[in-house]
């Protein structure tokens, strides 16, 4: 004699089977298939928005830079700061800006960790046409290649346009 109805047992077994298969798949399948790194630009209070829109030539300006390491391993990153007058010198996803770096910061990040760094950068243009000039402040994210010991551009960068005015003291 069995008090459990055959159909009820079949349904319950089916539920257990499905749950078991899903749990197994969850364990066996890789949890994260897309690894990436990210860089973000925040204002001097480390918040989004309210970015300064003008600065005197030669003054310093403070930003917060956010770096996120979602690779499958720890990595040493480098932030390179550049200033560009021209659009053609902006970095793309494949090529960094050809301009020389005006500042460099390194940070070693564990996998899955992020950091926000408050960076003070000089805004210094060689010459200003008229009373002011539009310039892009560029922050590129580079990564140290452990095999070659050289820096590799990650394809990630941020830039912000700012009006650089002739300093009244000059």
């Amino acid at each position: 004699m069995n008090p459990v109805n055959k159909d009820v047992l079949a349904v319950l077994t089916a539920i257990v089977t499905v749950a078991s298969i899903f749990s197994t798949a969850y364990i066996l399948l890789p949890t994260k298939s897309n690894h990436y790194v990210a860089i973000g630009l925040l204002n001097q209070d480390c918040l989004i928005g309210n970015y300064p829109d003008q600065v005197y030539n030669g003054d310093n300006i403070t930003y917060c830079i956010y770096v996120d390491n979602e690779l499958d391993h720890a990595a040493l990153f480098q932030i390179r700061y550049k200033i560009s007058y021209e659009r053609r010198y902006l970095p793309s996803e494949s090529e960094p800006s050809p301009l020389p770096a005006k500042g460099v910061w390194d940070v070693l990040l564990d996998k899955g960790r992020n950091i926000t760094m408050r960076l003070t950068v000089p805004v210094e243009l060689d010459q200003i046409n008229g009373t002011s000039e539009r310039a892009a402040l560029i922050f590129e994210l580079w990564q140290l290649d452990p095999n070659t010991g050289g820096w590799v551009y990650t394809g990630r960068s941020v830039y912000i346009y700012i009006t650089v005015k002739e300093s009244p003291l000059r």
């Binding site: 749990s23 197994t24 066996l28 391993h73 926000t116 452990p146 095999n147 010991g149």
Partner: protein
């Protein structure tokens, strides 16, 4: 605003937790280059360990410190830290094989247990249910309706 404030708080905590280094490029000079090579070796080990799922946060902290000393040109201190951290990393790297084996055993044991659940359920559940059913009704008395006097 509240969201922005919480983002700012999280970001500030991240800064406090990790710290910031400012270094330009690999150091110059024979001593500097030798320490940098040593640092790179430790970096490679850390990456391998990190990729294999080993917790390397303490090692990263030491590597951060040594990087800071390299940046300020204090190669002795940088080298001393690296001499401390590299043997630990090497030991962990050697143990990586057995760690991977243990991890695989653990993982596939769980998988085997999970996959054996449906047949076990099918076999054991009716029996367990029956056992409980019997226990709940063991005080019942079977009485024939036809028995005289009932």
């Amino acid at each position: 605003m509240r969201y922005l404030a919480s983002v700012a708080a999280i970001l500030a905590l991240s800064v406090a937790a990790i710290g910031l280094i400012s270094i330009a490029s690999p150091p110059e000079g024979i001593e500097g280059q030798s320490v940098w090579d040593k640092w790179l070796y430790a970096y490679r080990l850390v990456i391998e360990l990190s990729r294999s799922g080993i917790n390397v946060s303490e090692h990263l902290e030491l590597l951060n410190q040594s990087l800071h000393y390299i940046e300020i040109g204090d190669y002795d201190k940088a080298s001393r830290i690296l001499d401390q951290v590299i043997p630990e990393l090497e030991n962990d790297y050697i143990a990586l094989g057995s760690y991977a084996f243990q991890e695989n055993v653990r993982k596939y044991s769980i998988v085997a247990a999970l996959l054996s659940l449906p047949p076990l359920f099918y076999y054991l559940f009716p029996r367990a249910y029956l056992e409980v059913w019997y226990r709940l009704k063991r005080n019942w008395i079977v009485v024939s309706r036809d028995e005289p006097g009932q």
